[in-house]
Point group: C2
Chain length 383, copies 2
């Protein structure tokens, strides 16, 4: 961590250049520094929210003087003629003067893609342990963020127990399917999920915008023949497609697919989003894949449609490849969670004697990631 820094005022005060102790130089603009000040007139004590808008900062803001002392930098801004202290560690963590040439479909360092070889490394925890113990909860959530799914064992075999899972980190996303839904065979199913049919690996509700970003499936009965669950890392599938066929990968990111569900009265859900979603700077941020609810794709020009379909087919083949899937059969009281923007889930068909009854619900990643970040922050403070 930098304790002292060499600092130069450059570009007539419009920026500064800091030589960090490790030799790395980082330039910061005066306007950026002023906007990101943490003094008491810029940020509210307590909640940390910014008290000013950019229009309160003069357009010709520049740095006129710099004083470096142990761990901090005192910068004087003109024309305000105000001196504000900046933490050097904070600046070292928030540099933006870097090379950022990255491949299309790069992923965050917080995550790691996987295939069937993930095996025993799946994030697994005991429901009771993570309910009682913040550190255990943090470990499990860390795994869920990293791999996009996790399994829990040892939960109560009780109606609505899945809500207790969600309340460990966040909030239910209620939809037309209810706060939760029953996954078991129905006579007149409004959705093929409520039959004994096998289901190809898919993300849920791609016809919804925003999609529910988490799904929990909780087992109450599972004595039927079959009915195993499989999960597949959609990000790994996208990476495989990119390696084999960069043009096909590009087509699935560049054009929107369409999805639709109108399976019950009063419901007509439609979306227009790509199967492989990138942030504008190429980060891989979402997968939508669901054979049951893909609508007519009409946003791909005629000239590209044959190649688009070939890429869509190949992505499905990769997803169906057993070398991609982690398989398990839930016992009563066991559950799993998937990041529904990334990890696909599937089930084998089931029938015969016995019964299979799962309860499912949706939730969102914001709550989960916030809970995890708060635990991590707490751990760092305690360390």
């Amino acid at each position: 961590m930098p304790r002292e820094a060499e600092v130069d005022i450059i570009d007539a005060g419009r920026a500064i250049s800091i030589a960090l102790p490790n030799g790395v130089k980082q330039r910061f603009h005066a306007i950026w520094l002023r906007d990101n000040a943490w003094d008491e007139t810029t940020r509210a004590a307590g909640n940390g929210q910014r008290l000013i808008t950019l229009s309160n900062i003069p357009v010709d803001t520049r740095v006129s003087a710099v004083k470096s002392e142990a761990g901090s930098l005192h910068l004087t801004f003109q024309p305000e003629n105000r001196t504000i202290a900046f933490d050097l560690n904070w600046l070292a963590d928030h540099g933006y003067d870097n090379d950022r040439s990255r491949v299309s479909g790069w992923t965050s360092p917080d995550i790691e893609t996987w295939d069937a070889s993930l095996g025993a490394a799946i994030p697994l925890a005991d429901f009771g342990a993570i309910s009682r113990d913040q550190a255990a909860l943090g470990n499990w959530l860390h795994g869920v963020r990293r791999y996009g799914f996790g399994k829990l064992v040892g939960g109560p075999v009780e109606n609505a127990a899945l809500f207790e899972v969600a309340s460990l980190f966040g909030y239910i996303r209620e939809t037309n399917y209810g706060r939760h839904f029953e996954v078991r065979t129905e006579v007149n199913p409004s959705n093929l999920a409520y039959t004994g049919l096998g289901l190809q690996a898919h993300t849920d509700n791609p016809y919804r915008d925003p999609v529910p970003t988490l799904q929990i499936l909780y087992c109450l009965e599972n004595s039927a023949e079959g009915g195993e669950n499989m999960v597949v890392d959609g990000f790994r599938a996208a990476e495989r497609l990119r390696a084999e066929n960069p043009h096909g990968f590009d087509l699935l990111t560049r054009y929107c697919a369409r999805f639709e569900y109108a399976g019950s009265a009063g419901i007509c859900l439609r979306s227009r989003r790509p199967m492989i979603e990138l942030a504008p700077d190429g980060e891989l941020v979402g997968i939508r894949f669901n054979n049951r609810s893909t609508a007519a794709i009409i946003d791909v020009p005629y000239e590209d449609m044959a190649d688009y379909y070939a890429a869509y087919r190949r992505l499905g083949e990769i997803i169906d490849d057993t070398s991609m899937e982690v398989t398990f059969k839930l016992a009563p009281g066991e559950s799993f969670i998937v990041d529904n923007t990334r990890v696909l889930h599937a089930r084998k068909g089931y029938s015969g004697a016995g019964s299979r009854w799962l309860q499912g619900c949706y939730a969102d990643k914001d709550g989960l990631l916030s809970t995890l970040s708060a635990i991590e922050l707490q751990n760092r403070k305690a360390a």
Copy 2:
């Protein structure tokens, strides 16, 4: 509507060309047609979900024979040797063989951008009327989809009445702020919203991913001096920026901003998304703008940061321009809804005698748009 069509098999059966009665030619690929068949082995009766995956359709699918008859087209697919009927109106509605050169930041035909001159055209309805009457509800929701906001009058002056608004079309998005939150002055506010301060026009919770896509604010008391609400169309603001400074517009779409809120214990919400979000084909799909919760922006290279900040400043100036805003003061029992991915809301500061008490909640657009689409479908069937 086409009753008959001239059809040619082209590209050795890999596509067909249809001359619609209006003279327009549309080509469709055999694989696309086969995938979008609606016969009983492709789609489930009742819920309409697709029963097959793309891997069930032969890779070398082609059309070997075509028979056109009033209103439909009978296509024979090889190597399956199956003949499937397609509705000509459906094909005319789902053509993809079109020119699609569009400007970056194009908007859907379902929406219309606006500024202060919107005036009396704001979507306004009586709470009782839309609660009783589906047609009135449909009209109001149509306006909300078109303009990204709407106002309701004549609702009950009762705690939690805002839930009755949400239940007309969808579901609450619960967050760390609760199923709803109280917008009134607090002694130790966890958020500046809970003070008497004026708030610059903003979208809510940009630090959450996904953001809540709808917000309802419902008035229970409003006798304080000030406290008027303003709404601004973020899409119009983006269009103005694009017209003035295309490069600045491009920078705000091309790089991610960062947002953060950590104002209460156990909460640490962060996101990395652009201020102006485009679909991969350039459709304008989202605005995130909030001075209070913008975090250090570190995903813009040093070389572009000064121009990025200039564009960010200018976008804020446009948003603050009174010629952009529609202003109103809510009376008890009145409420408004905003599309939080598009329309910014603001409030004037308030103080002095009297009181101001609003209740707020979040919901999502999927439910609202589904309810509207279902009403529209019903209307078309009845017509």
